[in-house]
Point group: C2
Chain length 351, copies 2
């Protein structure tokens, strides 16, 4: 039994036939929920980024399809499947590049197809249970990451992180923050420095929010302070998430991770990358990974405030690439991979 | 004669017995001037940071004392000196840690004291001329930095910079931006990437503004993109300013400079530090340099928008330290110092 109970609000929940999710656009000012029994409203929440983070979006899509099934007036299996497919089409359009979104939708549709010809209520129940299973599996994987990752955290550690690979990005418990939550539950004395993570400020807005909710001491810092913080020995571990990991151990993650990684290496601070094995891409070589460029406007405005003169553009790559020689270990729900990653990662995936 | 004429607005000017200065708090939204014949209004502008940047503040204080002298009703030398000293006291309270402010005030008072017993109008004129000389010397030093620094800039260069060590921080022409302006005047094809420089966003707000006014192509980038930008070969030179340089060649400058310097070195991009020799501190060893910590609120709010939850603090060191092994050259109005700096800097100061 953990020494302390973790007390952070659930990103998204299925409550009495309705979906309830935190409106992340209102954070950190207000903890405000959206509650609905309409799948269209969940689709809107994904599109407007009221919910974000790859695993959280997957769960939201699955729950949206469960709503579509439960609320459908279909009398026959065929009619129900048609309603589900219509909802799936609408959901696919919300964030067309989100891998987890498509994965969750396909999994729910496959389940419905497996129940071909069954009674409509049985299909409704099957779809809902599959959605709940997707959510539960996400939390279980994250708790495993927490257990494997906690071994690297000692009493008194001050941990550096960037972006939000926390509970808010998942169904519950987070990825990069999972080892921190596990250490906290086990009574270890730790604290966190969260880089604010421009342009969206996920570190300041979301990571600081959920750590504070959990009761874990946290301070934010501007991204450009990362070198000074590391050079002064103000942190002794770094934990980050990942959007994609190649079999060579190259880590694609939020812009700023590479800068952090170079400085961590220079100052002898270990860097742990936490992600479910679904993040590991066994096909694509790193040279083929395209780094998404996003609109300059997302850099040029902060909370409606224009920070640069009109007519001046901005460079905005959403991610960067951290090479394997800067990574101490990759922590997944199946275990920990250590260098050389081109050996340990295939072994982990095979396990 | 330069191939192109530089066309950037003057930070501060003496115009027909009045002081006219750009209200930098309104940038980049509006180019708005403050014009006054009252030294109290200039003091207020320094205090409210309507004007900032060490050399610019020095000139503003000198012009404020000139206003005090010109507008004084003193009939005798003694009365005039009393009025000047009262104005000096008020000015000293505006930014109590600004070195250039005190230096400029002391220089004007010394001038007035040298004219002891002269006719009041002669003293008024002497004070005004000394203030104009301080301004002129600043521009001359900056143009020298530009000439020495331009040698390192080639046609086609893309230059990385941080913060605003530009014309807006000086009377005219800037320090880190001086070689860029000189290269531009001489017709070289160059462009600039300005790191936005949180928390005050001097890069986005001020550097982008003045480069755009000059017609030099500029884009901004978030500070955390510095590693990615350098790793992709998007820039081939870096120019930064300095708040203090020790005789060992340690450079104290805006937070983020050290992070930039480590990444520049890693990717083989030369880093040039531009500053007048008055920035070189021949006394203090680097271990004794105290890095100013500023209020967390300055990180926690952007344009009135709170970016982190209430109750969460922030780390804000205003400066960091770049060690000499990361610096390619230090460019001053007296010439260029190259490694080893502990030999070249004393030589330069002696010159």
């Amino acid at each position: 039994m953990p020494a302390r109970a973790l007390n952070i609000p659930k990103t998204i929940e299925w409550v009495n036939g309705r979906v309830r999710l935190i409106n992340q656009l209102k954070l950190p000012q207000k903890l405000e929920y959206i509650e609905t029994d309409r799948y269209e409203r969940v689709a809107e929440a994904i599109k407007k980024m009221e919910i974000r983070g790859a695993p959280a979006i997957g769960v939201a899509a699955a729950f949206a399809l469960a709503l579509a099934a439960v609320k459908s007036n279909a009398k026959t299996y065929g009619e129900l499947l048609e309603d589900l497919r219509r909802a799936a089409d609408a959901l696919r359009k919300t964030r067309p590049t989100a891998k987890n979104l498509f994965w969750a939708i396909d999994r729910i549709l496959k389940k419905a197809e497996e129940l071909s010809g069954r009674d409509v209520n049985e299909v409704r129940e099957g779809v809902l249970n599959e959605a709940l299973r997707i959510a539960k599996e996400d939390e279980e994987a994250n708790r495993k990451i927490g257990e494997y990752g906690e071994r690297f955290i000692e009493d008194g550690d001050v941990i550096l992180t960037i972006c939000n690979a926390g509970s808010l990005a998942t169904y519950y418990y987070g990825t990069a923050l999972a080892p921190i939550y596990k250490a906290w539950e086990d009574g270890k004395k730790i604290s966190v420095i969260a880089l604010e993570t421009r342009p969206y400020l996920q570190g300041a807005r979301l990571t600081a929010f959920e750590l504070k909710q959990a009761g874990i001491p946290v301070k934010i810092a501007t991204d450009n302070a990362v070198g000074f913080i590391l050079s002064r020995g103000m942190v002794n571990k770094a934990f980050v998430g990942a959007d994609r990991i190649t079999l060579t151990g190259h880590v694609v993650n939020k812009i700023g991770t590479y800068t952090l990684a170079v400085l961590a290496k220079k100052h002898g601070v270990p860097l742990y990358v936490c992600a479910p094995t679904s993040t590991i891409d066994p096909q694509t070589p790193i040279e083929k990974v395209v780094i998404e460029e996003r609109p300059a406007e997302e850099v040029l405005f902060i909370g409606g405030y224009r920070i640069a003169p009109e007519g001046v553009g901005a460079i905005y790559y959403a991610f960067d690439i951290t090479p394997p020689e800067l990574v101490t270990a990759i922590i997944t729900e199946k275990g920990v991979a250590e260098p050389p990653f081109n050996k340990s990662l295939p072994r982990l995936l095979g396990a």
